[in-house]
Point group: C2
Chain length 204, copies 2
């Protein structure tokens, strides 16, 4: 259990309050499930603070994580109807980005991924959300579809107080370097190793 | 991204469907945050399936994780009012267990923890919930307040299809042994190392 006490007090000229309120860039990487799941758990706290939550899923299939999506859409609707929590936007690459007029092309995932990042970059500049989940965003970086240096620069220079959580395997070193919080999800044991297939309510 | 394909097909006499629907015992351990957060992310999927979710927090302070608690209480209320998702119960040791007539004693955390486990054991026998989060439950096991062998036996013999996720550092070996899915959350980098204190919406 974290005690809320920093190990060192940095000589950065900031007050504790300024330092406390710095926007966070978190990366969840490693080979084990739990990377996205933990990001969505963090988003629950953001929602509870009344923050605007924006989720951007860089996934091909719409099947996985539909549970989290439905729950967050319900929380977003609750905000609309009763003012509880914050607003929620949930965007998926797999079905074509919702802001895009053209449907997602099966042929050019790289172009779809780049379009997603371009929109996120615009939103960061506009301070559109308080809390971003860029789910499975490490893949287009790892595959070279999107330039990691450009992403790191845009994140470093983002205005205001926008928290960003990026998930996925093979997070590039420059991203790890730039992040404030990095967690590696390590597999100790997984039921698929024992021949169990994914199941409803657990994997999706 | 999991492909849903098992690495081996075990010789256990079960059909794929039977094997698929086996209830899961998951353990999230390791020194890094994300253990509980990922468990609550899993609970979102359970809620979305209409499952009964029971959360039991073996924590002393009520401050941490209030974001997740509020979000899940909102989802539970949404179930009550509109039938969306499943019912949610959220119980905390810190304030005295809600089913208990006596307030939690500051003097005897061990007795409080044992009382929490006794109730969970009763509920498992009654198949009260579909999805249990036993948050920070490894601590009373690690400290010897609750007998790990008894917990493992009760979990192994639980009837029906009840999924259980246990979180916390120092998970005992027998529990790891008994679990189907074990994830270790490893710290790569944490902002508290750089002198940043915990902040609202991020840590709670």
């Amino acid at each position: 259990m974290p005690q809320g006490k920093p190990l060192v007090v940095p000589d950065d000229g900031l007050t504790t309050r300024q330092r406390r309120n710095r926007p966070l860039l978190a990366v969840h990487t490693g080979e084990m499930k739990g990377k996205s799941t933990a990001a969505f758990g963090m988003a629950l706290r953001a929602w509870n603070q009344g923050w605007s939550v924006g989720v951007f899923q860089f996934v091909k299939s719409a099947k996985w994580k539909v549970g989290e999506e439905n729950a967050f859409r319900a929380l977003g609707a609750l905000h609309e109807s009763s003012g509880q929590g914050g607003p929620v936007e949930w965007h998926k690459m797999g079905e074509g980005w919702s802001w895009s007029r053209k449907p997602g092309s099966d042929e050019d995932h790289a172009a779809n991924a780049r379009e997603g990042w371009a929109e996120i970059k615009r939103r960061l500049a506009e301070e559109r959300h308080d809390f971003y989940v860029l789910d499975e965003f490490t893949y287009p970086l790892h595959w070279g579809w999107i330039d990691t240096a450009e992403v790191v620069a845009a994140l470093r220079d983002r205005p205001g107080r926008q928290h960003v959580v990026i998930t996925g395997r093979n997070a590039p070193d420059e991203l790890i370097e730039a992040a404030d919080l990095v967690t590696h999800m390590t597999k100790v044991k997984h039921p698929m190793d024992a021949g169990q297939k994914g199941q409803r309510g657990i994997e999706w």
